[in-house]
Symmetry: C2
Subunit: 356 residues, 2 copies
DNA sequence: AATTAGCACTTGAAGTGTAAGAGTGCTAAA
DNA sequence: TTTAGCACTCTTACACTTCAAGTGCTAATT
């Protein structure tokens, strides 16, 4: 009994237990495994093996007269070495890509779609996440003249994002005045982060634009709003109602804890950020020693990269007995899809603004 | 006695029962009402009155040895004639208005804020709703030139809404070409609903713009997206997790039914639309004879008008023992706030003058 | 040495019976 | 008309029993 390597039969048994538990959600007994075609031994033998697996820490018993349930370590082993890649059907892949490609370029929208897709495909709660940028800078301003009291301010950000806002003013504004005003903006506010737009700079701006100084305040507000929106970490959750189908959440208290966690974006954010350094795929398996809402739940999270840089993350939250195989496959596909959908506007047309 | 009019004492008792039940969520017994200062009689008298109120249909007993609970009719009577206006504090009103006014003009954002505000203030689930317009038309196009491969299309809708979209193209585009293109758009697509933008019109458009015909397809797509977004009925729900604090939803099945209802925008929409003809404030009180998810829940809904026209609705969903008084007050205030926040850019632009 | 059959043992789930408590309706007295 | 008092009903909680599932261990078998 080497402690380091599991015998082939033990692996088989562990795998069978995990899969049966994922399917039915109840402790797995030695006899019920006999139906498994690959296991040719008797229930007594399985009992012996199960006892050893329990000693090694892969299994545990809720109580003496119950079957076995995988521990966190058991799931970990399963995910790391026993899980066989789930293969998505062409139809599923097609469906994902089609949905994503309808909203090219609008990352916030894509996130919303992504979380919905995830919850729909996995039947767990789907999560999509955009990290806080914290240093959005505008590389260029443009405008469109609406009427003498209103205009659309177009802001092109350094990363290529374009945002717009509508500005109303009491002034009577001509087209020429507007373009002059935009010129001033371009000269004075490009390349600045929101915290660099200080009061002296604003006052200076007001001096520069002369008669139009009343326009500065609403415009700066608009700029600030756009920047905050871009900077703000954003988290979309969809399909929590699916979780209620699992008996794990039949206790309302448990479920409420989960909901509150999802409401509190910061907490979940921490969960992603803490060890989100390099691993593209993170599997958090709930365990008893880490109490709180996640003790009975698992969270699988996949980073989304563009040009090697992390631009977001997608994930799934569900009961600890998650169908890891399927979930991981779907997350991979989706993260590819997102990167693809966003990449389209970048590979072909000249990418705006690397200048700072 | 008289079946038509309730005696003063009966009204008092009914009121006390409703309020005690709203507070504690449990059937109210005759003795527990003795603590009420306004009732000077004994528990036996109260019992007699309660028996009569039950005969009249205002109260019911879950079972023989339990206290009384208001029926739908009981609540209806309470709401119609016993509820005293809850007075919001100046602080609460202030907070609502401040939140709303930050996002002037962006109705979809306002909705999101509104639902959040509602759930926060009432501790029930908050709902904000925008009906489908189905006939959005664009009154003018504007544009901003980004670079030779991309532009921002600004669409001014007939109702004053402004939407923008970014368009990418393979073509190499000059500023002059762009403004010529926009001119053509303005000549051919203004005032049309999305279903009126037919293939012949699009082909004709392509012929008009000559070399830029490749630009037509992405631009039309962009227009269509914007129109659909405006047309689309939209429903924001926030704070369902609050509901879990009420024992009414301690049965997971009940709660899931509720969640599924909220997920299914159409159903809820029907609930608003069916009798949404003229009453600004609609109070749906769950009752046993109308089964389904709403049998144990109530839904209070307030239409939001601008210039007399319904532009949306806000509402609250919670257990049948809703604090109707408070909820109605908050809904009224919020609907005023929304109308105000949106109204600013229309008609009464003279008000915001003294801000700086 | 590994496997298996068999059996005693443990334990939670489900069912039953009883006692307590809350609330009522009714009757008779004030 | 109101109230005190009492018998009645029904839920809840708890203790107790029974049942089935699943185990661990021992002895027999391969």
């Amino acid at each position: 009994m080497s402690e380091r390597e599991l015998s082939e039969r033990k692996r088989l048994i562990l795998k069978a237990i995990v899969e049966a538990h994922v399917l039915y959600g109840e402790p797995v007994g030695s006899k019920s495994l006999l139906s498994n075609q690959q296991l040719t031994c008797s229930s007594a033998t399985i009992r012996n093996e199960m006892a050893e697996l329990e000693n090694m820490g892969y299994l545990e018993q809720p109580h003496t007269s119950a079957g076995r349930v995988p521990t966190e370590m058991g799931y970990r082993f399963y995910v790391d070495s026993l899980v066989k890649q789930y293969r998505m059907t062409a139809l599923e892949i097609e469906q994902i890509n089609r949905t994503l490609q309808r909203k090219i370029g609008e990352f916030d929208r894509v996130l919303e779609d992504a979380s919905r897709l995830l919850s729909h495909f996995t039947n767990y709660a789907g999560i999509a996440f955009k990290p806080s940028a914290d240093q959005a800078t505008i590389s260029r301003f443009e405008s469109a003249y609406l009427d003498e009291h209103s205009l659309v301010l177009v802001m092109v950000f350094a990363d290529g994002t374009v945002k717009t806002g509508t500005v109303y003013t009491e002034l009577t504004l001509s087209q020429q005045e507007l373009s002059a005003f935009i010129d001033v903006l371009n000269r004075h506010l490009c390349g600045l982060t929101s915290s660099e737009i200080t009061l002296p700079r604003i006052v200076n701006l007001e001096r520069q634009v002369g008669l139009l100084s009343a326009l500065v305040h609403p415009v700066v507000t608009c700029i600030y709003d756009a920047m905050s929106e871009l900077d703000e970490a954003n988290l979309k959750v969809d399909g929590v109602n699916h979780l209620l189908e699992y008996p794990e959440y039949s206790d309302v208290g448990q479920f409420k804890e989960m909901l509150d966690l999802l409401e509190n974006k910061e907490d979940l954010l921490g969960l992603i950020a803490t060890d989100g350094e390099e691993k593209d795929l993170q599997v958090h398996i709930g365990s008893h020693n880490s109490p709180g809402p996640m003790s009975n739940s698992s969270f699988v999270c996949r980073l989304v990269r563009r040009n090697g840089k992390v631009i977001g993350a997608v994930g799934v939250i569900g009961p600890r007995r998650l169908d890891y195989s399927r979930v991981i496959a779907i997350l991979n596909q989706l993260s590819l899809g997102i990167a693809g959908a966003i990449g389209t506007d970048e590979g072909e047309s000249g990418q705006a603004a690397d200048e700072n």
